[in-house]
Amino acid sequence: MTPQINPFIIFFASIITSNMVLSNFLGMCSFISVSNEFKTASGLGKAVTLVMVFTTVINYVVYQYIVLPLGLEYLRYVVFIIVIAASVQIIELAMDRFLPELHIKLGIFLPLITVNCAILGISLFMVIRNYNFWQSLLFGLGSGLGWWLAISTLAAIREKTGKSKIPQGLVGPGLTFIIIGLMALAFMGFSGIFVIQ
């Protein structure tokens, strides 16, 4: 059943060694398309972290106390998607009401996040690995921070490569993937420090 791992180990591992995007390939689409500019990338990273923590907690509660007792495991995809879409809406409304400045900064990213597969992926990993509440919470938070770290780093590197001379066929996505590959290698250097799964 629930694996006996200290939640804090899960937290650090999901930032570094099992980074969502660099080792699990989740959230690639927006990772590639929104990493041209450091400022926007960092904004999206913040928004993803926020939504990820929220949805992981809500999905955990919904899954444990509604879906499981009713025996509706096969409907979990639909349930998770609806929860994610709804919580993105609620976060947007709440932000608009209470933190209008933050809403102006992050608002444009929120709808994008509904279809970010990292968010759904986190909830699915949580179910597959049987995490308990604290493990899920720190797993969501760590994964969000890891995603933020990765996209800001990539954007910072891409801003520099924009000015360099590279083969024509590599311009755009080709070079981006090579950069991501090198980043993934660098992050792999930490492996062995924390182990989860």
Partner: protein, 205 residues
């Protein structure tokens, strides 16, 4: 451009190939390509989902209000993904374990949403069905190409069969995540290179 089967076929397999030209559906393309068997199962699953969700959404296209079409699309896709997930779990339990959450993540795979938005919304059901099917084939072909290279170099096997009569040192980098990124970069590079050369030839004429 007309919308007969031939142009749809060409467009989805090369001109607008979802993976290497539009850079869609990359998550799963990278995650499941360490073994050819996994990629094949994933590809066929995705083909099924794109084809039938395009068919369904196209048949319903006049009845879905524009405002809520995103959520309708997601629900239709989710329904087909559940079918695929249950099927794989029942018949191929080992592969289901290896694929992990990535079958469920077909729901948020941008290829399917992309086809539904760009094609099925405006075209009749039959041609939408083929459009979805060919987009799935375009995805599967690229996946198999990447997986074949990664599996041969990384494990020394093809579809799980040993080919160790050719003796060489296994490339560990092909098994780990960075290998996937480098392989897909090479594929994109080749595709972009060919396309650039064609464009130049056209301009020269």
């Amino acid at each position: 451009m007309g919308n007969n089967i031939k142009t749809v076929f060409y467009r989805n397999l090369w001109g607008e190939n979802p993976v290497i030209r539009q850079i869609l559906g990359i998550c799963s393309a990278l995650a499941v390509t360490n073994r050819t068997v996994n990629s094949l199962v994933m590809g066929v699953g995705l083909m099924f989902v794109t084809a039938f969700s395009s068919l369904t959404l196209s048949a319903l296209r006049e009845h879905i209000p524009d405002r809520i079409r995103m959520i309708v699309q997601t629900l239709v896709i989710a329904a087909y993904v559940i079918i695929v997930d249950i099927f794989i779990k029942a018949n191929l339990p080992e592969i289901s374990k290896a694929l992990g959450p990535y079958v469920g993540l077909i729901i948020t795979n941008c290829i399917i949403m992309g086809r539904a938005e760009a094609f099925a919304r405006k075209n009749p059901p039959v041609i939408s069905f083929f459009d979805g099917l060919f987009a799935g084939i375009g995805y599967t072909v690229i996946l198999l190409g990447i997986a074949l290279i990664r599996e041969i170099l990384g494990f020394g096997t093809v579809f799980g069969f040993n080919i160790n009569f050719i003796d060489f040192t296994k490339w560990t980098i092909m098994v780990v995540p960075p290998g996937a990124f480098f392989m897909i970069a090479i594929f994109i590079w080749i595709a972009a290179g060919i396309q650039n050369r064609r464009l130049k030839k056209k301009e020269a004429k």
